[in-house]
Amino acid sequence: MASETPVPERPEKKLSLTGYVVKPMLVTLKQAIRSAVRPNTVLYPYEKLELPPSYRGLHALDFKKCIGCALCVKVCPNECMFMKKLDDPELGKIERPGIDYARCLFCGLCTEVCPRECLFMTSDFELADYSRESLRYDPEDIRHDGYGEERFNRKLLPLHDFTKCTGHAKCAEVCPTQCITIAQVERTSRLKPEVDFDNCISCGKCVEACPESAWKMDQVILETLETDRPFFYLPKCTSCAACARVCPTECIAMTEMPGTEKRRPDGTMTKPKKRPVWDMDKCVGCALCAEACKFDSLWMEAAKLYSERIREESVTV
C-alpha cells in the first residue's frame, strides 16, 4: 500500500546567522503586540469557559426513574460506586447508587449502561474539597429529579407479561415478520413467547391479537452493551422466590411445575413447587436475582464479580 511518491527533499536554504535570528524574533514581536490587548489565557476563577453539553462532570441521578438495579455499580472500572439503602418519604425503601469521587475517572460507562436513563453526567466540574471523606457523595448528594433529556435510541416494542399469558400462541400467528417464537418452559405445562427485537417492526399486531392482553407496547431503550443473561440450574432451585422478589423490573414470574406435588400424610396433595420464569424482553441483566439466590441455582457473571463488594458497601453505609 505504500505510495510511490518521491521522497521530499530538505529545504536547502542557506541560513545566515543574523538574518535568521531575527525571523523568530519577529514572530514573538507580532505575538506580543497582539496579546498586549488580550492574552489567550483565561483568568479561571473569575472567567469561565463554556463547556459543551456532552461534557462529563459530576453525576445527576433521577431517583424516580432509577430502579436500583446496580448495573452502574457493576460496570464501574474503578469500583468507585456503591449502593446505599435509603428510606425515602416518597418512594419508600429503595437502593440508590452513590459515588466516591476520589476514585471516579469520569469515563461515563455508568451512564451508558443505565437501562432506565436516570443517571446523567452534568457539566459541573468543581470538586475540590478538604478531605477525602467529603468526596464520597451519597445518593442524596447527586439526586436531581427530572434532570436530563432522552439520549438513547428508543424503539416501540412489545413487552410480555408472563403472569397473564396462557400460551395461546396467537401472537406468533399474527406476527408479520415471524419474530415471535413460542417455546415450552422446562418442567412446566406452559408456553412462553420470545421476541427477536432486532427483527420486530413495532406493528403492534401481537398486542391486538392477544386475548389476555399480556402484551403491551412500550418505548424501550435499545441498549448498546449486551446484557448479561441469567443461567438457571433447575435441580438446585428450592422455590424460595427470592429472585422474583428482588427483581427491579418484575420480569421474573414464579410458575407452578405440575408433577411436583407431594402427598401429605393425611392424603391431601401439597401445592406443586414453583420455578422462576424470565421475561427476557424486560430483563436488564442486573444480576440481582443471582445475588439473591442462596442455593447456587442461579448464576451470572456480573454477580460473581461484584456481589460481595456490594453487600459490604451496603453494610458500611
Binding site: M1, E4, R10
Partner: protein, 182 residues
Amino acid sequence: MPGGDGEAQGLSLAVPPQPSAAQAKRGHESPSQERLTEQEVLRKLAEQFGPRLTDLAISGRREVSARTEREHVFAVCKALMEQLGFDHCSLISAVDYKTHFECVYHLHSTIHQLIFVLKTPLPHDDPIVDSVTPLWQGANWHECEAYDMMGFVFRGHPNLKRVYLPPDTDFFPLRKDYRFGQ
C-alpha cells in the same frame, strides 16, 4: 560524524548525511521489488520446513500464521528474516495457558507488507526458547519483558534482564498462578 573530538566540530555537524546508494536501493520504495502474496509465503515455507511448521494458514488479510515446536523457532525466524524479508519484529507475547505457555511472534515485513504470526508452545516447568535478538535488534526488550513478566528464558539473548520490575524480584506477575501478596 557523531563523536566529534572537540568543540570545533560543532557547526560542521550541520551537514545532513545523504543516504548512500546501497541504502536507497533497499526498502520498498523501489518499484522493482515485487511483493510476495500470502500464498507464495505459504508455499515457500511449506517447501522449506514441511512438517516442522503446523497449522500453516492464511489467517487474515495480508496475514499468515503457523505453529512450530520450540526447537525450530530460530530456524524458522531466520528463514523468515533472511529469505522472506520479514525484517521487523513487531511483538513477542507470552501467554500462560495454565497447562503450557505459548510464545507468540508477530513478524512484519516492511517490504511485502505481510504479517506472520508464529506460535510456539513451551512447557510450564521449563519455558526456554531460542532468542531471536540476533536476528532483530528490536526483539531485545520484547524478550526481556517476556522474561520479566512470564519467566521465559531466551537462550542466546545478549542481556536478559528485568525491564520493569526491580532486579531482585523473585516472581513472575503475569503468570496465572500468581496472586497478589504472594
